[in-house]
């Protein structure tokens, strides 16, 4: 059930994405893919509405992706983001300690999202 206050807006709370979803990074060359998988089917629509390619590009602004693509997997309640040119050349070229960009899923999962208060019981962790 969704609660609506007097102003007609949905009662929401702001949480980091990692409470609503989990994910993993993969790399090929200078391209990174990051999955974002809803912890519950009912959270999926919230993620689709808010975790947009534009917001993901903004979250990775220092990595300056040349393109951010989002693929939807509704039967898995998941999204797959593909970020081009975010690995400073990739595993053989980057000067980063983490040349694979394996840590990047946690940068994405740190993004704030607003979740209807009615869905709060579905969130993971504290």
């Amino acid at each position: 059930m969704t609660t609506i206050d007097n102003a007609g807006t949905i009662d929401t709370i702001e949480v980091p994405l990692y409470r609503a979803a989990h994910g993993r990074t993969g790399d090929k060359g200078d391209r990174s893919n990051i999955s974002v998988i809803a912890w519950h089917a009912d959270l999926y629509a919230v993620l689709v509405a808010q975790v947009t390619p534009e917001r993901v590009a903004a979250q990775f602004r220092f990595r300056a992706p040349s393109q951010v693509q989002r693929f939807l997997l509704p039967k898995l309640h998941a999204m797959n983001f593909v970020l081009d040119a975010v690995l400073d050349g990739g595993v053989n070229d980057a000067l980063n300690l983490d040349t694979h960009g394996k840590s990047l899923s946690f940068l994405l999962l740190d993004m704030p999202v607003r979740v209807p208060r009615s869905l709060e019981p579905l969130l993971a962790g504290p």
Binding site: Y18, R24, N33
Partner: protein, 463 residues
């Protein structure tokens, strides 16, 4: 609880990369043996090891140059010796890319190992055709890569070849198939093609087996490895995380579980993370065998079994070309680190970075402040420039640069070391490293230009 469908094919995976745990195979083999024994005669099982990544082959090629009998997986003996005799005794066949840059030498090593173990003389096949580093292929690569090939010092060139030669080797009676650069999922598709007699254009079945192979190919990553996040994603017994076993049916559908008596867990969450790992367009996962399509895939836990089912995978006609990776010498990577602690530590680390930038003219430095901002930063330093000093009291400065000329790269190590006496106060724990780099070029080559084959090696070839 362990309801057994005797018609399913069992495939266990005991390594997900070169350098994986070498005690992984034992519990996988024990579990395969138990599941074979619980079923009527005729149930088949395979053990696969996936040990290659983009860099691994180039490093193997360098070892082969130094020693013609080297160039295969350095941990081959540690991985295989504990389980080889049991696999042969129970009819578990072995398929792996641990041949790396020298499958024939790996095959000789395995034959020797079997003799030492008193396990007889197994029928070993090698799969070849992926290695394009010889002079005969130079013109072909030049045609595909053009000016990028000019002036490079090539170390390795390999096509990602597919499952067909593996299936053919198994059909010919091989008990062990040693490959070089075959695509990771092909290690699973080959046994399934051979076992079920699928045609090479049975796209849906090949697509399903490919995604089963994709779930297996990173070893523990589908069993709770690379998953744990305390309080959010808790994994029991991570120190003894199990490795995966797929059961594949005649349609290519699979369930994924793990070795008995191990830690970890296989859940919908672990399977979904691994299913999407290194996938770009989910409707078009390109492999040499098939274009697999998981856009409508479903993942369902099978209650009471510890297993998860994968369904809804489709396949489309395979690409007309092979992906080829060319590795070449890429100059030198220089790295240096120094730590600062206590009041003003972050300010002193930042000052040290400033000193290095001013002294190392001609080198483009990456700067990390480990403890403040490091691996989430960018090589150009945009993120660090936007991050003000937050007064951290335990910071490790790391700088890195690359240069074609070794002497230029060495300047970085000397300047970091000189911070001991010439830099900010209280710097300690200097470490420096100079590493030769390998760079990669990629291209596509028509399948017809890359003939692949298998060969069942005779006693003379294995001596």
């Amino acid at each position: 609880m362990n309801s057994i469908d005797p018609s399913t094919l069992l495939i266990g995976c005991a390594a997900g990369f070169s350098g994986d745990r070498t005690d992984a195979a034992g519990p996988v083999v024990d579990t395969l043996i138990a599941r074979m024994a619980g079923a009527p005669a005729g149930r088949r099982a395979f053990l696969i090891f996936e040990t290659l990544a983009e860099r691994t082959l180039a490093l193997a090629q360098l070892r082969r140059r130094a020693d013609p009998d080297a160039g295969y997986e350095p941990l081959l003996d540690d991985m295989l010796r504990p389980v080889l005799a049991r696999c042969l005794a129970h009819g578990i066949r072995i398929v792996s890319n641990f041949g790396a840059a020298n499958p024939r030498a790996a095959a000789r090593h395995i034959a020797r190992m079997a003799r030492e173990l008193g396990a007889g003389a197994p029928r070993i096949a090698v799969v070849e055709g992926d290695d394009l580093s010889g002079p005969a292929h130079r013109a072909l690569l030049k045609e595909a890569l053009g000016a990028q090939m000019d002036g490079i010092r090539m170390v390795s060139a390999n096509a990602y070849i597919g499952a067909e030669p593996i299936a053919a080797a198994l059909d010919a009676g091989a008990q062990i198939v040693v490959c070089g650069r075959v695509a990771d999922p092909s290690l699973t598709v080959g046994p399934a093609m051979s076992h079920f007699g699928w045609r090479a254009d049975d796209w849906d079945r090949l697509g399903r087996a490919t995604m089963a192979g994709h779930l297996l190919e990173c070893g523990a990553q589908v069993c709770g490895g690379y998953f744990a996040d305390p309080g959010y994603k808790d994994v029991p017994g991570l120190e003894a995380v199990g490795f995966p076993i797929a059961e594949i049916d005649a349609e290519g559908r699979c369930t994924i579980g793990k070795a008995d008596a191990t830690g970890g867990l296989v859940s919908e969450a672990t399977v979904k993370e691994q299913l999407l790992y290194e996938v770009h367009d989910p409707a078009a996962y390109l492999t040499p065998d098939v274009v697999a399509d998981i856009a409508d895939a479903e993942v369902r836990a099978l209650p009471g079994t510890g297993r998860v089912g994968l369904s809804g995978v489709r396949g489309h006609a395979r690409p007309d070309s092979y992906k080829v990776n060319v590795c070449h010498e890429g100059g030198w990577l220089a790295e240096g680190e120094i730590s600062y602690a206590g009041p003003g530590a972050e300010a002193r680390a930042r000052l040290a970075a400033d000193v290095l930038r001013k002294r190392l003219v001609g080198l483009v430095l990456r700067v990390d402040l480990i403890g403040a901002l490091s691996i989430l930063g960018d090589d150009a330093g945009r993120a660090l420039a936007a991050t003000p000093d937050s007064g951290l009291r335990d910071v490790r400065l790391r700088v890195a640069a690359t240069h074609a000329d070794r002497a230029q790269a060495e300047r970085l190590a000397r300047e970091v070391t000189a911070l001991y006496t010439c830099g900010p106060a209280g710097g300690g724990g200097v470490r420096t490293a100079l590493t030769p780099r390998l760079n990669t070029l990629s291209c596509l080559l028509p399948r017809g230009a890359v003939p692949v084959r298998f060969e069942l090696l005779d006693a003379e070839a294995l001596a």
